[in-house]
Symmetry: C2
C-alpha cells in the first residue's frame, strides 16, 4: 500500500530511498466499506487520509438535517477537515466512503513526528497543498462564472470517469441541484 | 520590510537566524499605488506576493466584460494565481491593489533557488497552504449554507475591519450582489 504514496511523493520531490523506507511505520492502512464513515462532524480525531483506492465525499449536516456534500476525493488525493487537523478543533465536516475505499491514515501527532524524521516531506506537502489551493481558486471562479447547468456540463466534460463513479444524489448535492433537476439535465444531454 | 515576512515565518516554524538573513536577497520589495495591477490575466509572470501592508483583490474578466472579484488578500497573506505559479501556465486571474500596498514578491524560479538554500521554508509553506486550503473548505461550506444576506452578515460579524477597508462595489462583486442590493442590506443592518 505504501508504494502508492511513495510513487505520489516521487512525482513532486526526491527523497532518499532509505528515508522513504521509514514511511510505512507512520501510517495505518485501513479499508472502509461503501458508506462507512472515515470522520464524523464533531470528532477530534485529527487524521488525514491519503486515498490509495476508492472515493470519499466530504459533507456537513445542514440545519434541516440534510447532508450537504462539499467535495470529493479520489486516488492520490488527501482528504481531511484541514482546519481541525491544523488547529486541533472539532471537525466541521464528515467524510464517508462512496465506494469501498483503501486509505493510508496519519494523525496530526504522528505527522509531527514524521516531519521531524523526514523534514524533506514538507516540500511534498507544500506542493500538494499549493495545488489543492490552486484548484480551489479555480473552483471559486467556476462558481461565479457558470450557471448550474454549465457547471454540470463542465464536470461532465472534464471529469467523465469521475461522474460515472459517483451516485447521482451525491453529485446533485455537490452541484447544489435537486436530484430531480440533475436527472432532467442528464436526460437533456444524453438525448 | 523583510522583517514582516520573517516574523510571519517564525509563527509557523523555527529557522536558523543566519539562514533567515539570506532571505532578503530573494525578494523584491515593491509598492503599488491604489488601483495598480500586480498581475494581469494572461500574464506569464509567475510571481507570488507576500502582503506586507495593504490589500489586494483577485479577479477575472467575465465574458460580459465585468470584473468578478473572487478573493481578497491583506497583511500576512500570500496572493497569486497559484495554478499559473505552480505549472507555468498563463494567469487566469488578475490582482490589483485596493489601497496603497507594499509587497515582497518572488518569482517561481527564485523560489526554487530559495528552497534549495533554505529547504526548511517548505515547512512554512506547507502550513501556510494547508491553512489557506482549510479556509477554502470553510468558504465552500458557507457558500452552500448561507443565503446571500447571511453571507453578508457573516462577513460583517467576523471581519468588521476588513469590511471597512474594501470599497462597496468590490465587496458586492465578491458576495455576488449587485451594488444596489448590497447598499439595501447595509441600510437594513445599520438602521
Amino acid at each position: 500500500m505504501i508504494e502508492h504514496l511513495i510513487a505520489h511523493i516521487s512525482k513532486f520531490c526526491t527523497i532518499d530511498p532509505e528515508k522513504m523506507n521509514m514511511l510505512e511505520s507512520f501510517f495505518e492502512h485501513r479499508t472502509y466499506r461503501k458508506k462507512e464513515l472515515l470522520l464524523s462532524e464533531g470528532d477530534r480525531g485529527y487524521e488525514k487520509f491519503f486515498i490509495v483506492k476508492g472515493c470519499v465525499h466530504i459533507f456537513y449536516l445542514r440545519q434541516n438535517g440534510i447532508e450537504q456534500t462539499v467535495d470529493f476525493a479520489i486516488e492520490n488525493w488527501w482528504a481531511s477537515d484541514f482546519m481541525a487537523f491544523q488547529h486541533g478543533s472539532a471537525a466541521q465536516f464528515s467524510i464517508r466512503a462512496v465506494e469501498k475505499t483503501e486509505v493510508l491514515s496519519i494523525s496530526a501527532e504522528r505527522q509531527r513526528e514524521l516531519l521531524k524524521e523526514i523534514p524533506e516531506l514538507n516540500a511534498y506537502f507544500h506542493l500538494v497543498f499549493q495545488k489543492a489551493y490552486a484548484a480551489s481558486q479555480m473552483r471559486f471562479r467556476f462558481l461565479y462564472e457558470f450557471s448550474k447547468e454549465e457547471l454540470y456540463r463542465h464536470f461532465t466534460q472534464h471529469f467523465p470517469d469521475f461522474m460515472q463513479r459517483v451516485p447521482q444524489y451525491l453529485m446533485a448535492s455537490f452541484l447544489g441541484f435537486t436530484p430531480e433537476y440533475l436527472s432532467e439535465i442528464r436526460k437533456k444531454y444524453l438525448s
